[in-house]
């Protein structure tokens, strides 16, 4: 009986190997997004650069109803690489994996409302900041919270793993005074706002550019943004540390676009005002 099972086992191993080899070949897609290149010369040789983005980040990079990747950062990246003579491909990634994607060479840069922080600087090289924003406090329009000090004993929500959370944590005393001793974390700003409307959260801390989009979508009259904030932040483009030539090219092109007003035009299109730094 045991010998029999072993013989059957061998037969099945062979069947599986053949099956796996067969589907392995047919399932192969062109490995277009798998660039292993470092160095600008290599990028030029292959003719394209891969930008990694989380396609849920409205309005920086997301998908429109037709499924096309669009957004402020997307337009900006397209213009930069049109001038650099490279084609640009956008690869959707999971945001929590962005630095792994970059350093394993699956993408060449992270360009998607990527806030410059000291911690991230250890892992990636940043371009010059191209947008300045701030970490604002949003409440419902009729809320009694009018200053940072009013947040004590209140439920405060923010996006998990975000620069907003880092900003809150720079004031540990204040964070500890929140209901529960720490902020409540949501996957997206939209969920944090929904929770506030449901009455379970009193205030949301978020990046001003990101949250303004949702406030406009959900109805501006429902919310207010406090004058006090959790500090300023800046967006940069994340590039592998060894890709210095690519970084220089991006910086130089962004400067040119600022000088000739083309980045201002892209900003007007998405935000109705020029917020280019």
């Amino acid at each position: 009986m045991n010998k029999k099972i072993n013989r059957i086992l061998i037969t099945f191993t062979m069947i599986i190997t053949i099956l796996a080899a067969f589907t392995g070949c047919s399932a192969k897609e062109p490995a277009a997004a798998n660039t292993k290149s470092t160095g600008f010369a290599k990028l030029q040789e292959q003719g394209y650069v891969v930008v990694g983005l989380d396609d849920t980040f409205v309005p920086m990079g997301f998908r429109d109803a037709k499924g096309e990747i669009v957004g402020f950062d997307v337009d900006l990246a397209k213009e930069v690489f049109k001038r650099t003579g490279l084609e640009v491909k956008f690869q959707p990634i999971d945001w929590s994996m962005k630095e792994s994607e970059l350093n394993s060479g699956n993408i060449d840069m992270i360009w998607n409302g990527y806030t410059i922080t000291a911690e991230r600087k250890e892992k990636v090289a940043f371009s010059e900041p191209y947008i300045a924003s701030r970490q604002v406090i949003v409440t419902l329009a009729d809320s009694a919270i009018n200053a940072k000090a009013d947040l004590a004993g209140k439920t405060v929500a923010t996006q998990s793993a975000s620069s907003s959370l880092d900003a809150i944590n720079t004031e540990p005393g204040l964070a500890a005074s929140f209901e529960g001793g720490e902020p409540v974390l949501f996957a997206t700003n939209n969920e944090a706002l929904m929770d506030m409307e449901a009455g379970r959260t009193d205030a949301v801390v978020a990046d001003e550019i990101m949250i303004r989009y949702y406030i406009t979508e959900r109805g501006q009259e429902k919310y207010k943004i406090l004058d006090e904030d959790f500090g300023a932040d800046e967006y940069g483009i994340g590039i592998r540390k060894e890709d210095t030539e690519l970084l220089e090219k991006v910086n130089k092109t962004l400067d040119e676009m600022k000088a000739d007003g083309s980045s201002a035009a892209i900003s007007e299109k998405w935000f109705g005002e020029n917020i280019i730094k």
Binding site: M1, R7, T56, F57, R63
Partner: protein
């Protein structure tokens, strides 16, 4: 409202395509792989049997999400690189193969010894006896638990977002974020329900077809 949903459909269908391809390929590969694992686990050779036991323990004992991350981001460190879709498929087949394997093992062990003896008397060799006599009876018995796994699989396909593949739930989340609305998520739920309904009905018919003697 209806026009909004119609507007959502193209991008959702695009996501559905990914969901269905991961689903069908995983199912097609993990079923035969599962039989292999069951046989390995049942092997009289202690070494082979314990290797397969270890394999089943690791695959069922760690989250599928972690296995996906490990295969896509971890293996390139040691020089093995798969593209996004292949990594996802590999992780799913390895993981689901382990679950299917234990189901098939239960099925194989439930077949009475007399069946093997009868096959031998009739002059069947071991491999032929297994494929022609034992396996059909096993399949018949394991359809209900397999249906369970298949329904789990439909929903687990949503995990492939971690390697950057756009599937149905992801498409729903994108639209939900863009339009600050929960409707796209409800539409995604609808698609999942349709998929599981189709699977349930399909396996029910299959079960009926094989319900001879009962």
């Amino acid at each position: 409202m209806l026009s909004y949903i119609l507007n959502l459909l193209p991008s959702m269908l695009e996501g559905l395509k990914m969901t269905i391809s991961v689903f069908i390929l995983t199912l097609a590969l993990s079923l035969p792989f599962g039989i292999l694992i069951a046989l390995g686990r049942l092997s009289g050779n202690k070494l082979i049997s314990s290797i397969f036991q270890l394999y089943i323990w690791v695959m069922r004992g760690t989250p599928l999400m972690l296995q996906l991350v490990f295969i896509f981001f971890g293996l390139p460190v040691v020089g093995i690189t798969f593209d996004r879709f292949d990594s996802a498929l590999l992780a799913f087949v390895l993981n689901y193969g382990a679950y299917m394997g234990e189901i098939f093992r239960a099925g194989i062990q439930s077949i009475e010894k007399g069946q093997y003896e009868a096959a031998k008397v009739l002059g069947f060799g071991p491999t032929k006896a297994f494929i022609r006599i034992i396996l059909p009876q096993v399949i018949k018995r394991v359809i209900p638990p397999i249906t369970n796994e298949v329904i789990s699989l439909v929903k687990d396909t949503s995990l492939v977002y971690i390697v950057g593949l756009g599937e149905l739930l992801r498409a729903g989340k994108i639209a939900s974020n863009r339009d600050a609305s929960l409707v796209p998520l409800a539409v995604a739920a609808g698609f999942y329900l349709i998929l599981t309904a189709l699977m349930t009905e399909g396996f029910k018919r299959y079960e009926k077809k094989y319900a001879y003697f009962e």
